[in-house]
Amino acid sequence: MVACSFWLYKKRTRRSGADRASFGLVSARSRSAAIFLLWAFVLFPSAAHAYAGPGAGFAVLSSFWAIFVAFLYSFYALMTWPFRQLFRFLRRRNAYGKATFERAVVLGFDGMDPDLAQRFMKEGLLPNLAKLRDKGTFTKLRTTFPPISPVAWSTFMTGVNPGKHNIYDFLACDRNHYLPFLSSAEIKGPKRHIKIGKYSIPFGKTEIKAMRKGTPFWHWLGKAGIFSSVIRVPVTFPPEKFQGVLLSGMCVPDLKGSQGTFCLCTTRSSNDKFREGGVRVPVERKNGICHSYVPGPDSPLAAKAGHELRVEYEIRPDPTVNQARLTVGSEKFTLKLGEYSEWIPIEFKAGLGFNAHGICRFYLKEVSPEVEVYVTPVNIDPGHPDLPISHPVTYSIYLAKLYGAFATLGLAEDTWALNEHVLDDEAFLAQAYGNHQDREKMLFDALDKTKQGLCTCVFDTTDRVQHMFWRYLEEDHPAAREVPKERRPNVIQDLYQRMDKLIGRVMEKIDDDTLLMVISDHGFKSFARCLNLNAWLHQNGYLALKDGKTESGDWFEDVDWSRTRAYTMGLNGLYLNLKGREKQGTVEPAEAEALKEEIKQKLDGLVDPDSGAIGITGVFITGNVYRGPYTDNAPDLLVGYGAGYRASWDSVMGKVTAKVFEDNVKAWSGDHCIDPRLVPGVLFSSHKFIEEKPAIVDVAPTILKLFGLSLPSHFDGKPWNLAPHSAPAKVAAVTPAT
């Protein structure tokens, strides 16, 4: 840039004397003229002679490069647009020719409860949802068996029952080892390694296999030439190719490969381990300066597993002003007590050029007398994704460049940290609503970009906040007994109002040619009592422990499989220890049906002896509720807990305890993994549907039908019909009401 002035000067000084004289006009004038010239050189550099020196020069060059590239892209898009449109027309005819709506906007409010929505609408707290109810539809939406998010959202997108999409829980059971594995995706490192000294160098790609089967309905739309923007719908990791853009949601792992492992860095010495979801990392203090580290993934170069990569960082606490200065790599920032950092990029270096890129946020918990910093799980960096988290890969990069880094972890709101009292209520909410705001920005960007087609976005905040704050809704929830009633905040009411305001802003962006649907995958109920099904199986002779043991460790440690006929892991599934299927199976296949029936009979209506309430309101044999090629992968029985009950924390992790029933005193105090008949979701829509008992499985066929597409024969859902007067004006004009 500076040199551009030089070149100009040079050109001039080598001209004739007359030119020289004319150049001299600057000389005797004011300094302002010189400054003006500098401005001119910067803003209007001569293309041929502009030496835009290092630093300054990059600015000019890169900005013109951006314009140049944009121009090329735009030119290409403009020139080829008619041909592409013609090609489409010839191939598929007019994609929107038979469509009832130009656009469908489907907002998923994970876990929005119809009873609470009804109550708040009645109190006048949700004016926008009430408008939808009055003008269009508000009804309960039947959920899946079991009513768990990955199951229900998989059904939402594929239009089929779990027997056809293969997702039955967050976790599935490895019948060879009686251990869980993530049900939605399998990530395998490169198969080949070459050992050189201490290194084991991987060759080939990391393999990510989607476990969810079935075809999301936006693929059918894409094949018909209809564009979709799909944001954070659960169980969309790994992302699949289709015509549109997609950002993966629930089930995206963190950089460690877990579903979210937070880190508490502390000067307090403790040998206690968190039950799940987090690790404690020591902070070393020397001369007032503290050092700690963020644990990362295992080194891909280590010959043996367990060699954890780390990023070290420095904390300089200043107790006088309740803040600390943190240095993480090249990032330096100051945090006040009780404040989160922005997303900080961190890079785990394994050596030989093998690096993993992540982002995390730091939260200053304490500066004196002890120093404590909470670090969120290390999310995959959306601007530099080491694993594919979007389709196309550039979509997450686009969003990160446009709005800054954002949470990519499937379960981004750190419920475990609140459960373990590492975060308090306010810190958790700040984190959850921070993520929520990012999601809103993505939604509105997608709405702006998708004027035709499908725009769908799932918000998890509704689910996480209800899970963690249901305790304040009830008079005597075990998890809130220590909090006086007058100090209990209206967190859930506030949540519903926020969602209502979001709906209001979305309604401002749409017209009559857009169908707006607001759905939830399930509702919510209290989780006040835990039921350890493994303990019940043990006490009723279906599960045996090794001699002398009265309890087991996690994942069936000390279970005697040779005498065990049934076991449970995960949230609702119950498995027979079937010969030929389980590694140490004991139940003959011929006896299986009778045993299922026997257990069903005993469990159905199980009463909590302490309260007299029914802990289990329904037990379902999966063979009766599922149809499809993957039914064999399902648990043998699904347990439908009663309202107020859920599988105990220990039972979920395959632990046998002495007591069957106990209070749930964790902040995670509301739940939905119960009898699906008790927790339907919601359906709001801007246009009225005629359907008495809509179900989440019907959404996919309904959308396809509204876009004028024929329905695949394997669909289990049935499309809803629009009320005649509710069709958009252009359709109503040509379609006589019947």
Binding site: G17, A21, G24, S27, G53, G55, S63, G383, L399
Partner: protein
Amino acid sequence: MLSVVVGLVMVLLFGYTSDQKAIGIAKDQLKAHLLAVRLYRDQLHVVMGSYGRVLRGTGRYLKLAFKPLLYVIIPITLLIVQLDHYLGLTAIQANAPFLLTVRVNDPRVLDDVSVGLPPQIAASAPPVHIAAENQVVWRLVANRHGDYEITVNAAGQSATKTVRVSSELAWLSQERWRDHFWERVFSSAESALPANSPLESISVDYPERNIALGIAGYEMNWIWLFFILSMIAGFIFKELLGIKV
């Protein structure tokens, strides 16, 4: 080597004087709009909207870059001017003719201009008077390497101009000016002519100097080489230092 050092210094200077966070955001947004054109290429309203945003974003980016550019512009301009005295011109070769041009401020003085030459320099042709441009031009030849002073007389006053005859790299001043502050800053390495002098300028036409690339006889002006090397160095250093430019 100098290019590399300049690359480093300029990047550092840019880094310290700019709003790195804002520049980072502006650049990211530019990239986002470019990606939008690609992601939504079938949607014409997005493509055209993104193009508009790229233009606006570029303006914002340049605005952010302007302050650090101001800090960088002065030292690098002066540096390049000085380097050009050394690298941009070739000294007069022995026995090769060159022109000495004297420009006066009053055409009536033209006939009164003469030069006093040292013994090693001789005129190879009579002076040419260009009345329309107030100039007198001499064609001269030096027969030996060295630094010489040529005296120019006009209207009873005299002034000198240094002429450097050499086959080596040399510090060269093409012109000597009266007044003309900016011209002197940019093109002269000599003191100004007296303010009351009838002479406007005295110049020697040192030929431009190119650097042989050693590839198919190609030559390049030093500034292009300087540009390329300092840019490469700058790119490397900005990455190493994490400075957003």
